[in-house]
């Protein structure tokens, strides 16, 4: 067992106190996100793990089996921190402030033995640097998971298939249409056509910010697939600027039924399905006039 490991084991309490006071005095402390007790518990756990790992004699290979508990603890901490909304700086400083605390303790313990002190401090430095790299990796991974989940949620939320009438489905598309979205939209729509036995689908694109040739191609693919299933597709919600871009880009939508508003598309769908919608008010008026 080398010197540092002995000192850390012996002076664990002092180091923890130092570390805590370092963290607490730091401006970046987020006591709104984590309570001091929790922080204390977390820190103690990490330090204990580290001391135990160093006691095995391995002090430079952080990827060895002895360090697994430590990396596990640190990954856990960083992932939770990423989810709680800590900034990268705050997460990084958490580990780096431990380095300061250990170095301070070593300095006191090894006063006068400069060579030894230098060696031990570099050793601890290297170890904790690798630890902070792991912290960062997992922190970013945690953040990416959050982003991934959110984009999943967005694509799920934004493609509802609504049954507006017996045999008529409406699909309001909100946001940009890319290949992945088109795939989801298409699958949802086709599945819903099978489930409800509808023969008309209205694709409302009033929520699509821009239509370029790629988006138009995706729309046409959806229309073709719907047609293959045996249902008709109407595209509605075409705004003036979208009509302009479509014509300027030379996209041919002539074999697709298009309508300006969802209302007119619904009207077309009614007439295609031979459904008549009558207003009751007119009869009432007639009654009053007479």
């Amino acid at each position: 067992m080398n010197k540092t490991a002995q000192i850390i084991q012996k002076k664990k309490k002092t180091i923890l106190e130092n570390w805590m006071s370092n963290q607490l005095s730091d401006q970046a402390l987020r006591d709104d996100l984590i309570s001091n007790e929790d922080l204390h518990k977390q820190s103690e756990e990490l330090l204990n793990g580290l001391a135990r790992a160093m006691a095995t004699g391995n002090v430079d290979n952080i990827y060895a089996a002895e360090y697994e508990p430590v990396t596990e603890i640190i990954s856990d901490i960083s992932v939770t921190r990423a989810r709680q909304g800590f900034s990268p700086r705050e997460t990084g400083l958490y580990v780096l402030s431990l380095k300061q605390a250990i170095a301070d303790t070593l300095e006191q313990e090894l006063a006068g033995q400069h060579e030894q002190l230098y060696k031990e401090v570099t050793l601890v430095s290297r170890l904790l640097d690798s630890l902070s790299v792991i912290t960062f990796e997992t922190f970013i991974k945690g953040r990416e998971e959050v982003i991934l989940r959110q984009s999943d949620e967005i694509s799920e939320i934004s493609t509802p298939v609504i049954k507006v009438w017996d045999g008529i489905l409406a699909l309001p598309i909100i946001g940009t249409l890319d290949s992945a979205r088109t795939q989801v939209v298409m699958e949802n729509l086709l599945q819903e056509i099978v489930n409800t036995g509808s023969n008309i689908a209205i694709l409302d694109i009033s929520g699509v910010p821009a239509v370029d040739s790629l988006v138009a191609q995706h729309l046409m693919k959806t229309v073709s697939a719907t047609r293959l299933m045996g249902a008709e597709c109407i595209i509605s919600g075409i705004r003036a600027e979208i009509a302009q871009t479509i014509v300027h880009l030379g996209i041919d939508l002539s074999n697709i039924k298009t309508k300006a508003s969802l209302a007119s598309a619904l009207q077309l769908a009614f007439s295609m399905n031979k459904i008549e919608v009558k207003s009751n008010a007119r009869n009432a008026n007639f009654g009053l006039r007479r």
Binding site: V194, N199, A225, L228
Partner: protein
């Protein structure tokens, strides 16, 4: 040799494909179907592919061929019950089956054929069967 049965229903021919089509079978079907059309003078062909879960470009082409051939022989083709995955695959392959009529299920496909052929040709059958079902 495995064969897909072709049923005659009045002026229409009904084919339900219950197995996954391999090339040989598809070619035989094309051949048999066209022979049947010419023999019976059918006015419409209805192909039910609701049990088909895998298609390739060849199968898509066969369907297109059947439709074109039937058209020449004055019969309309309706493909019914295509699975969503199959529809997506065909579209991704660029096969939109222009000239083939489609419907959701056999019932709707029959209605469509009745509409396409026109009432005058079906007069005799309708009189036997009672009122026209298109008036619903």
């Amino acid at each position: 040799m495995e064969r897909i049965p072709i049923l005659k229903m009045g002026p229409f021919l009904l084919v339900t494909i219950q197995v996954d089509l391999y090339d040989r079978l598809a070619l035989n079907l094309e051949n048999d179907l066209i022979t049947m059309v010419s023999k019976t003078g059918a006015r419409g062909v209805l192909i039910d592919i609701s049990a088909v879960s895998i298609v390739d470009s060849f199968m898509g082409r066969i369907l297109g061929n059947i439709a074109s051939m039937s058209r020449i022989m004055d019969a309309e083709t309706v493909v019914v019950g295509m699975q969503p995955a199959v529809a997506i695959t065909l579209v991704e392959l660029g096969l939109t089956l222009q000239g083939v009529h489609t419907a959701l299920d056999v019932e709707k496909g029959m209605d469509l054929l009745h509409d396409k052929i026109g009432p005058d040709q079906l007069q005799e059958q309708d009189e036997e069967e009672g009122p026209d079902d298109r008036t619903e």
